[in-house]
Amino acid sequence: MPGEPERLDGSVLRPVRDATTVRTRGDEVLLSDGPFAETREYIAGYDIVECADLDEAIQIAARHPCARFGAVEVRPFAED
């Protein structure tokens, strides 16, 4: 029996100006200030992580498989 449509979850992110884009190329982790800005961008998925600071988040993002061929955009949640 199909249930009623309902909102499961959602949160507000901080604006893109607080984003950091992470790319891993070879052994190097490349960072850039701001959002992922390719000509044909699309979002392939998301991970939610709990970190003490941006360096920890970057470390996790840099290990994500997508960071090797594409990029991972790190965005903080807006505070409640």
Partner: protein, 417 residues
């Protein structure tokens, strides 16, 4: 009694450390900067009357800290603010016991945070000059030739990102340190290069960027005595800076290294740079800045252009290419090889680079080709390469230089006909 200029000099010397300490205590960059400014204003009021305190840095720190405490107390309507004020008082007491230790760590924390790679490069440079070097927003705007509101916005935005994105206020842990230190050195070198590119007519703040970069590299070298690349960078800056006055003639035209008046090089700077490089190299951990400084030292210590040790320079460029695989470094190596082994050997390397399609829009590639072709008496090809270089040259100074060379080359041709 101290003059305002003397007090300003103390301020420039001390402000980075004090801001750094206040940021650690309050976690609030704006509050820290404002309180340090206010402490300085108080010094301008009191020191001419009472004399400069025995330890001006400690006086300014205590004053700034008390001002911060007052402001937090006054605005302590929320529990969080009250907690901050309480922590600040605790900090003050702890710092009082431990004397100056930890203060240098604060400065290092500040430097690494300002140069964090998640900030845009221009933001890193601006923030370092503002908070570490103590320049005003107006001065930084003038140094980088942008309107003051643009620079103010850039600084505000950088501080917001630090806060909102959670950029940590600390010296990076060991596994991140080599990469992050590289980033800090990159910012200092960029500062230096901006100042070095400034012409004699440029704003004094802009010309002063070289001195500022050398000073900051010195501070960093004191804070990180075990990192030879920091000293290597400072040595590189000193060795370049020694030749600053000799680079341009009265009309503002470029004078080639070989034609520069070596007597007008700053001998003290050269000596300081080579001495510093020696202490760095003795660590046995060479890096790109040390190698570049070694190349600069070869030039700076040659008694005349003819006595330059080009074989050694070519060797050093060979090492540099392995550290930084870049076509610009390859091009420099080609020039050194041409000087050591003759123009044909150098030209072969340049042709190889050109064939690989690297540096297609870089004027110094055809300019170097032109120069070597001319030395091989291949005048027509040389003239064509000079024209190619002229079309790509980015500044008037360089276009004037290339135009003169082209005219000389065409003169060669006429002489032969």
């Amino acid at each position: 009694m101290p003059s305002d200029a003397e007090i300003a000099a103390v301020f420039r010397q001390e402000s980075g450390r004090i801001v750094a300490t206040l940021i650690r205590m309050t976690g609030d960059w704006d509050l820290a900067e404002e309180c340090v400014q206010d402490a300085f204003a108080r010094a301008l009021e009191r020191w001419p009357r009472d004399g400069v305190p025995h330890r001006p840095g400690a006086w300014l720190t205590t004053t700034a800290r008390n001002l911060a405490l007052d402001r937090l107390r006054r605005s302590a309507v929320e529990a969080a603010k009250l907690r901050e004020a309480a922590e600040l008082r605790e900090f003050s007491e702890r710092d009082g016991e431990s004397g100056d230790s930890g203060i240098s760590d604060d400065l290092l924390r500040l430097i690494f945070t300002c140069c964090h790679p998640a900030l845009a490069l221009e933001a890193r440079v601006a923030l370092t000059l503002r908070t570490v070097a103590g320049l005003s927003t107006a001065e930084i705007a003038r140094a980088f030739l942008v309107p003051e509101p643009t620079m103010a916005k850039r600084l505000v935005r950088a501080k917001q990102k630090i806060r909102n994105a959670g950029i940590p206020y600390r010296v990076p842990p060991g596994h991140l340190l080599p990469e992050r230190l590289g980033g800090v050195l990159g910012v200092l070198y960029l500062l230096f290069s901006e100042g070095y590119a400034a012409t004699a007519g440029a704003d004094l703040v802009r010309q002063g960027l070289c001195a500022e970069a050398i000073r900051l590299a010195g501070t960093l070298a004191d804070l990180m005595p075990d990192e030879p690349e920091v000293r290597g960078l400072r040595a590189l800056m000193l060795l370049h800076d020694a030749r600053r006055a000799a680079r341009l003639d009265d009309a503002g035209d470029l004078i080639l290294l070989e034609d520069q008046d070596r007597g007008s090089w700053d001998a003290d700077r050269v000596a300081e740079g080579t001495r510093l490089l020696d202490t760095a190299l003795r660590r046995g951990r060479p890096g790109p800045y040390q190698v570049q400084a070694a190349i600069a030292a070869c030039h700076a210590t040659a008694a005349s252009a003819g006595e330059t040790d080009w074989a050694q320079i070519a060797l050093l460029y060979g090492r540099l290419v392995m550290m930084i695989p870049s076509p610009v470094v390859e091009l420099n190596r080609a020039v050194a090889v041409a000087m050591a082994d003759g123009p044909a050997a150098g030209l072969a390397l340049v042709e190889h680079l050109a064939g690989a399609g690297a540096l297609a829009s870089y004027h110094l590639l055809p300019a170097t080709r032109a120069h070597l072709l001319r030395r091989l008496d291949r005048t027509d090809e040389a003239a064509a390469a000079y024209r190619e270089a002229l079309a790509l040259a980015p500044t008037d100074v360089e276009r004037r230089y290339l135009t003169r060379r082209l005219a000389e080359t065409q003169g060669d041709e006429r002489v032969r006909k």
